[in-house]
């Protein structure tokens, strides 16, 4: 894979928008690039921290057995309930626009 596009540029924003299935107008791309840049700058403060010699974080709870779930069956939703928010229903399933590839 080629190097990731810089999200601070309109091209980078266009790429992320496509991956996120967002339709952005050309003028929105530049505005969004500026917004994203500010957010990334704010977060990048963390990169200045010296983490040399700090062991990789292992959540405390991971050390206890509680973090894992027993392989025990729990009730599933009734089919009608599971499909309640479906935009469309086919035979027993969520109906979506035809998918032919893959």
């Amino acid at each position: 894979m080629s190097a990731p596009l810089d999200p601070r540029t309109p091209e980078g924003v266009a790429h992320i928008a496509r991956l996120s299935r967002l339709a952005l107008a050309p003028e929105e791309l530049s505005a969004m690039a500026a917004h994203l840049g500010k957010i990334l700058d704010a977060v990048s403060v963390l990169e200045r921290l010296d983490t040399q010699g700090v062991p990789a974080g292992l959540h405390d709870e991971a050390l206890s057995e509680d973090a894992l779930r027993a392989d025990a069956v729990a009730p599933s939703l009734p089919v009608d309930e599971a499909l309640r928010n479906a935009p469309a229903r086919g035979v027993g399933g969520f109906e979506v626009p035809a998918v032919l590839a893959e």
Partner: protein, 521 residues
């Protein structure tokens, strides 16, 4: 050497294999929905596997431990902690719009597997844990597809090898070896028709002697053992045909298409295709008209999955003590087990058949533990027990006949309680049907061995009463012997006790030798 072999022989086939093995847990990877093949669509879902907002995944301990067991069995390097990652993409069968998988800290790295047939070692690349997506179905010509999310969140172990295979036969060997290992470890049911085991192959070819690997094709949709073999065979031929035409294969993803549902090389630019007949010239003569890989996407169109560590799950500790514990608890693996059985005098082929069927091997071990020598125990288990199981479509785990009855049968055969033939053909079927021990069957039906003296007397009588058969026998006509045995058997028609044909034969041989000697004098 045929022209085909000669052309193919100039290139080396290089294959790596990826397997998605469904872990045989009761419930899904992150929720308590029951895993059940062919349940009514969307009847095994809950807010977690439907990807509703605000829910949190909780890792299934059994799935985690089964995947760990597999990594330990391969001898993978295990990090002190394993983490899960999000793989982001949009597809209707993926309700969360991301799949929880592993990218940065796989459960196991490296490791190896010794192939059972060839004894060659295949290096593993990694073993990791991930969740399955749902199932999309599309009616022919319809404008809509239907999504069934019962499968969404099913635990999978993804098992990736290094590009270590050089022939289709080696891949075949690997599939068998891996299947046996997964069954022995009790981590996967390996029912390919239920999609428990899904293969992908990455295939490239290079001129013999060249070090650098050629561009590889990833073949998806290999949903049977035969599709794996055919998909690789086809790619081998297609890539060699390209190189022979002075063209260079590119890195791409292809789908195995058993029926040739789309046109040959649809959507592939001229620079990357050769006439169909050039590929067919390199395929086996019995290939037929259809069955090819079709182009899906090129490297340039590869997805950008934006992996990042899964924030809803902690890292999970894999302490060296825990790994040791798992290693010590591993069952005997198929390779060593085959060797041990062979060492006990079990024929090679039988040792392989037993090892392949874990419940049957367990049953065999129980029969041996009751004091039956290994070759005899293997014989009864493969034949008498095997026939009873086959007739009922049962696994040895549900065998209706306890191992003790097999040991009883053996004791009766060795002790000559009844003729062996009668024990196998008359007593054993009743043992299976009635659930009684063979000795109890014999008692119930009043079956008992005949006194040897009675058999000898009846044989002598038949000898005297059938001079024609005796002359034929003396003239070397072996058929006459069967007539004489039949005559003796008929003499006991009304009797509950049946003579042992072996005893009659022995007496006939003695009479025959006497008669020959007498005539020579």
């Amino acid at each position: 050497m045929s022209a085909r072999d000669e052309v193919l022989g100039r290139y080396e086939l290089v294959v790596g294999v990826e397997v998605h093995a469904q872990l045989n847990t009761a419930t899904k990877l992150f929720c308590g929905c029951r895993l059940e093949f062919a349940a009514p669509p969307n009847s095994r879902t809950c807010p977690v596997c439907l990807g509703h907002p605000g829910v949190l995944p909780a890792l299934n301990r059994a799935a985690f431990e089964k995947a760990l067991r597999l990594a330990v069995a391969f001898g993978c390097r295990l990090e002190p902690a394993t983490e899960l990652d999000r793989k982001n993409y949009y597809y209707p069968d993926l309700p969360k719009n991301y799949q929880i998988s592993q990218m940065y800290h796989n459960l196991g790295e490296g490791g190896e597997l010794v192939l059972l047939r060839s004894g060659r070692t295949v290096r593993m690349h990694n073993v990791h844990l991930e969740e399955d997506a749902g199932k999309l179905s599309h009616a022919e010509g319809g404008r809509a597809s239907t999504v069934d999310l019962n499968r969404a969140g099913t635990p999978l172990a993804e098992i990736v090898t290094m590009p270590d295979f050089r022939s289709v036969d080696e891949v075949d060997d690997y599939m068998d070896t891996l299947t046996e290992l997964l069954r022995t470890l009790d981590v996967c049911r390996c029912q390919m028709q239920e999609g428990n085991l899904r293969f992908e192959a990455s295939v490239s070819v290079r001129p013999r002697g060249q070090e650098a690997l050629g561009a590889r094709t990833e073949i998806k949709n290999l949903n049977s053992y035969s599709a794996v073999r055919k998909g690789i065979t086809y790619e081998h031929a297609r890539q060699v045909a390209l190189l022979e035409a002075g063209k260079t294969p590119r890195q791409e993803t292809r789908l195995w298409d058993d029926e040739g549902a789309t046109d040959y090389e649809q959507g592939v630019p001229e620079a990357l295709r050769v006439p169909r007949r050039d590929v067919w010239a390199l395929l086996p003569p019995d290939w037929g008209d259809t069955g090819w890989t079709r182009f899906m996407r090129s490297k340039e169109q590869a997805h950008d999955y934006r992996y990042f560590p899964e924030p809803d799950l902690p890292a999970f500790e894999v302490s060296p003590a825990r790994v040791d514990e798992i290693r010590r608890a591993l069952p005997e693996l198929p390779g060593p087990r085959r060797l041990r059985y062979a060492g006990l005098g079990v024929p090679q082929k039988t040792a392989e058949d037993l090892t392949r069927d874990v419940p049957l091997a367990t049953y065999f071990e129980r029969v041996m533990a009751l004091g039956v020598p290994a070759p005899d125990a293997a014989n009864y288990v493969m034949n008498q027990v095997g026939a009873a199981l086959n007739a009922r479509g049962l696994s040895a785990a549900d065998c209706p006949v306890p191992a003790e009855h097999v040991a009883d049968l053996h004791a009766m055969i060795v002790g000559k309680a009844l003729p062996k033939d009668q024990l196998l053909k008359e007593v054993w079927p009743k043992t299976v049907e009635e659930g009684l021990a063979p000795s109890a069957v014999a008692a119930k039906y009043g079956l008992q061995a005949l006194d040897d003296a009675l058999v000898v007397a009846a044989t002598d009588e038949a000898w005297a009463a059938n001079p024609k058969s005796v002359e034929d026998l003396l003239a070397g006509k072996d058929k006459a012997k069967r007539a004489l045995v039949g005559a003796v058997m008929r003499a006991f028609k009304a009797s509950k006790a049946k003579p042992d044909p072996a005893a009659i034969n022995a007496r006939l041989d003695a009479l025959l030798a006497d008669e020959r000697r007498r005539r020579l004098l």
